[in-house]
């Protein structure tokens, strides 16, 4: 089996920047068709690995394919050529701008590591953040949606008559876990079972016994 390690690209610009850095060239020096092909290659790889692609990736992919097709057309009228150059420039500028953004972000990150050394007003607002972070909520949403999608596909193949589950039973079952991917926990043969498990998960999180991290892991909280 082929093992692939892929950095986690949060957005299309992260991927573009990664591709450009790998080439050790300025983005303007790389032919647009090369950029487009490499971008598509990664998109396909990410799809194979079941990585959730946001619509931003798809729209960047189509923009790149469009620019590639323009670049390959033998004859463009002067107006078309001007339009093409303008669109290419927009892409370059957004990548360059993003690069700058990353530099500033890194600077802030380094600063933040020293931040604990200062008594500041922000420490006092700390406790007000909700138990599950937004990133974690988004992750749960993605996992749930993917499972539903998978289930639809399975549904087309065969139908299963399902036994009944109660939230209480599921909760007892979950309590045996110390840490496991939420995806695996929720995966079930039918929707009812999945929803029952999900309700049990929510209950345990609300009770503060478990938590779900940004990494999509369901884990037992350490006793305070």
């Amino acid at each position: 089996m082929l093992e692939v390690s892929l950095p986690n690209f949060e957005g299309p610009l992260d991927l573009l920047l990664f591709l450009v850095k790998k080439k050790e060239m300025d983005i303007r020096e790389i032919p647009i068709s090369v950029i487009a092909d490499e971008f598509m290659k990664y998109i396909e790889l990410m799809e194979e690995l079941n990585i959730d692609l946001t619509s931003d990736f798809i729209s960047m992919a189509s923009q790149l394919m469009y620019l590639k097709s323009r670049a390959l057309l033998p004859q463009l009228t002067p107006q078309e050529k001007e339009k093409f150059e303008k669109e290419k420039e927009e892409l370059y500028v957004s990548v360059e701008e993003y690069q700058k953004l990353k530099t500033v972000e890194n600077f802030l990150l380094k600063r933040m590591e020293k931040v604990g050394e200062l008594l500041s007003a922000i420490a006092e607002t700390d406790g007000k953040m909700s138990e599950l972070r937004d990133e974690a909520l988004k992750k749960i949403h993605t996992i749930f949606r993917n499972l539903l999608f998978e289930m639809k596909r399975v549904d087309r193949v065969y139908k299963l008559s399902s036994p009944r589950y109660s939230v209480d039973e599921k909760r007892e079952e979950l309590m045996k876990i110390s840490v496991a991917p939420l995806y695996e926990i929720l995966r079930a043969n039918d929707k009812l079972e999945m929803i029952t498990t999900f309700l049990a998960v929510l209950e345990l999180v609300k009770l503060g016994i478990y938590t779900v991290g940004e990494d999509g892991m369901f884990r037992r909280r350490r006793a305070a």
């Binding site: 949060e10 802030l108 931040v115 008594l119 700390d126």
Partner: protein, 170 residues
């Protein structure tokens, strides 16, 4: 009228100290000048004298300025003691929150749409949390909201001003 070696009126120093002690989130030079009925130049001179005094080893707090706001802070060497009576450490921010802050820092006054265009990522959750944490200000402008860096942002990252952040080769 008694003066310090630096030629600053000690009653002004005392008043200044009282104002700084009482302000929870720090005070700007202009606010101090208004409250003391003095011109900014004189206040600044006094602030510097006060700052120097607190820098001495027999003080556990120091006077610092971030993003134009002056405040007393516990010196880092004494935080360990303070942590025994209250929480000291600030919340750590996520990479996506830092990215959003970087976008606002670069653009100055920014809308959500602009932040999302720069990142090509959905950003509303991050913006909302950063406003809740007081690191961004949000105000209405026309039909949309605009975001700016708050005084707490400068304090949190210990920045005196924006040029420290945006100058080249960081």
């Amino acid at each position: 009228m008694s003066e310090t070696r630096e030629g600053v009126d000690i009653t002004i120093l005392a008043r200044l100290e009282a104002l700084l002690f009482a302000s929870r989130r720090g005070v700007s030079l202009a606010e101090l000048a208004r409250a003391l009925e003095l011109d900014a130049e004189e206040v600044e001179k006094s602030l510097k004298v006060l700052k120097k005094r607190y820098a001495a080893d027999d003080h556990g707090v120091e006077l610092r300025e971030f993003g134009g706001r002056w405040r007393f802070y516990v010196k880092s060497g004494y935080l360990e003691y303070v942590s025994r009576i209250r929480r000291v450490y600030a919340k750590k921010l996520s990479p996506s929150q830092l990215e959003v802050l970087a976008a606002v820092a670069i653009k100055g006054e920014t809308t959500r749409a602009e932040v999302e265009r720069m990142r090509m990522k959905e950003s509303s959750a991050q913006l909302r949390d950063l406003v809740k944490l007081n690191l961004l200000n949000r105000k209405r402008k026309g039909r949309s909201f605009v975001y700016t860096l708050s005084a707490e942002f400068y304090e949190y990252f210990q920045l005196e001003d924006i040029s420290e952040l945006l100058s080249d080769n960081r």
